[in-house]
């Protein structure tokens, strides 16, 4: 697990994220004279793993800092990707998506969007932002699951022209062609800060957006949006992820915990009781025998990687 405290303090746990500083050695220590992750960052800089190779790690500051061994390799300077026009004083990276080992999308607090392609061991950067994409803080960026050349971004702020959700079609060269997909009132994403989104891997027309007032969903590619906050407290959603195999949508809130919703049923069951067979049996599906424990449970003598069975 990779964890950012704030700024460029970044730690890595190989024991399933167990509590204790000893379990979280720093992979970037700002107390050192020359921190390995360089460049000024936002308070919580984006830290992402390569979706196709979890050894590759990227940290966004005023540049993209890359490491090929989960941050233990020292983020060699030669691996950095500079973004044209982003100096640290005028702009910083606020969203990253490490789509695969040869493709990264990056976006900034001032509404800039970049595409980084790797070929022959070198990265090339292309500017994607262009009118009418508003000049606002971009909190999240991701391509459509079936089309890496169509990218979606969500923005913070109020009174954003066109709304907070935008889609860009990326041509072979040059900037993207941007279209607002925030919907039209009364079926629009409300004019509040949007902090995260998740596109359904099974259907690129279904997008979940986490906003300051809950989760909103479109199932028609952004033409219409509806509130999807059933059961959620009245709280800002700061991150949202979809557990693909379990069809579970999970939302991280601003101080009111983590919430989840099953997507494989129209309504959540009123009551669903279960008794745990072991630490990974969460009562959703049959407990799987012999799965490896991803974290330690010392009182049960279970270490990371131990096999767990139904008994």
């Amino acid at each position: 697990m990779i964890h950012g405290y704030y700024s460029r303090w970044i730690a890595r746990s190989t024991v399933g994220g167990a509590f204790g500083l000893a379990n979280w050695p720093l992979i970037n220590d700002l107390n050192l004279p020359n921190p390995q992750v360089r460049g000024p960052s936002i308070f919580y800089p984006p830290i992402v793993l390569d979706e196709t190779n979890p050894n590759n790690l990227a940290v966004g500051t005023d540049r993209i800092n890359l490491d090929t061994s989960q941050g233990t390799g020292g983020f060699p300077d030669a691996n950095e990707i500079s973004l044209p026009g982003v100096t640290g004083t005028n702009d910083r990276i606020s969203a990253l998506n490490y789509v695969n080992s040869n493709l990264i999308y990056a976006a900034t607090v001032n509404g800039r969007v970049f595409r980084c392609d790797r070929a022959g061991g070198a990265w090339t950067v292309r500017v994607l932002h262009a009118a009418p994409l508003p000049n606002r803080w971009i909190w999240d960026v991701a391509p459509l699951p079936a089309d890496v050349n169509t990218v979606v971004v969500v923005m913070a702020g109020y009174g954003v022209p066109g709304g907070h959700v935008w889609q860009g079609v990326v041509p072979a060269a040059g900037a993207a062609t941007w279209t607002a997909i925030s919907g039209t009132a009364p079926s629009a994403v409300p004019d509040v800060s949007c902090s995260a989104f998740q596109i359904d891997p099974l259907d690129g027309n279904t997008i979940y957006v986490g906003t300051d007032i809950g989760v909103f969903r479109t199932i028609d590619g952004g033409v219409t949006w509806t509130n999807f906050s059933e059961g959620l407290p009245n709280v800002a959603i700061y991150d949202i992820k979809l557990h693909e195999s379990g069809r579970l949508l999970r939302a991280g809130t601003h101080g009111r915990g983590m919430w989840e919703r099953r997507l494989d049923m129209l309504a959540m069951p009123d009551v669903q009781v279960f008794v745990r067979d072991h630490m990974l049996h969460a009562g959703r599906v049959a407990p799987v025998n012999g799965i490896a424990s991803p974290y330690a449970e010392p009182l049960q003598g279970v270490a990371v990687g131990d096999q767990l069975f139904a008994w």
Binding site: P269, V271, V273, F274, V275, D277, A286, A303
Partner: protein, 307 residues
């Protein structure tokens, strides 16, 4: 494996056991014969409404020869006690009035296992609720199938081995078979490094099995003496000339292509604590059919104590 008498309870009353305590403080222990043990069961509710009047029933059984099936009248008698069978109810079924979606409930049973209870015993918990009942189609009698298919069922079959440095612990392991099928006995990789893990097979065994990550060795004299103390004259039924030992416990090992026969076999598992290091961990010994399908097994929590 008794821990002493009187037992040292981990908590005084069930009212003191909230779910945070349960998950962060309570550890597995073995039942102690002839004295009061406390069995705790945690029940969760993943729904969006409170669960009302959740029935929880707890049973135990001798698992020396494997966990037995439920008796034929188990489900018709539930939550009462079936008329026969090899499972014994522990106390009466309890009812949890309310389980909130965000807060699991903890129940406790006081259980005094008889002095005659087998060393290898297992516990079964069955929960049911009118708003989320066990589907009738799932109300079978095979424990293995139930535990794998039903989230209303919990099967606890963990053996805690507390061994002083350098001590050797022996425990019987029963394996099952049918004629003309080949099986594997697999030792999981374990973090309990420094332990010696081995298996003694019966004196009469069909040849032809192969070793993977294991090595054939001979019992040392102290090991032979500890085995004799553990099984007495039963040592004559074992092939004490061949101890099949896991070469590297951190990687695990297996005996493949082994024939169990119609009657199955009873082997002796050797768990020898290291003499210097103090490394705990879990070990699972599982039986697989054709090296593929999991048939069952046992999990051991290996703890080293200073003598």
């Amino acid at each position: 494996m008794p821990e002493g008498s009187p037992p040292a309870y981990q908590t005084s009353l069930v009212g003191d056991v909230d779910y945070v305590f349960f998950e962060s403080k309570l550890g597995h222990r073995n039942p102690q014969r002839g004295v009061v043990n406390r069995v705790y069961v945690q029940v969760h509710n993943r729904g969006i409404q409170d669960a009302q009047n959740v029935v929880v029933k707890l049973l135990s059984a001798d698992a020396t020869a494997g966990a037995p099936n439920l008796p034929p009248d188990f489900w018709t008698a539930f939550p009462g006690d079936p008329a026969g069978g090899l499972w014994t109810s522990i106390g009466a079924a309890q009812i949890i009035p309310v389980i909130k979606p965000t807060e699991p409930a903890i129940l406790e049973w006081d259980w005094t296992p008889p002095m005659s209870i087998a060393q290898h015993s297992c516990l079964l918990v069955v929960i049911d609720n009118a708003a989320d009942p066990i589907p009738p189609a799932n109300k079978g009698f095979d424990i293995w199938a139930l535990a794998n298919a039903e989230r209303h069922i919990g099967w606890k079959n963990v053996h805690v081995v507390n061994a002083v440095l350098g001590a050797t612990f022996w425990t019987p392991l029963r394996f099952f078979g049918t004629a003309d099928r080949l099986y594997s006995i697999r030792f999981s990789a374990t973090t309990a490094r420094g332990w010696q893990l081995g298996l003694l097979l019966p004196r009469v065994m069909p040849a032809g099995f192969t070793l993977r990550g294991m090595v054939r060795t001979q019992l040392s004299n102290p090991q032979r003496e500890s085995l004799r103390r553990a099984v007495g004259d039963g040592i004559e039924r074992l092939d004490t000339e061949a101890l099949y030992q896991v070469r590297q416990p951190g990687r695990g090992g297996a005996i493949d292509r082994i024939v169990m026969g119609q009657e199955g076999i009873t082997a002796m598992l050797m768990l020898a604590a290291p003499s210097t290091a103090n490394r705990s961990g879990t070990l699972s010994v599982v039986q697989e059919l054709d090296g593929r399908d999991l048939m069952g097994g046992s999990t051991y929590v290996l703890n080293v104590m200073r003598g």
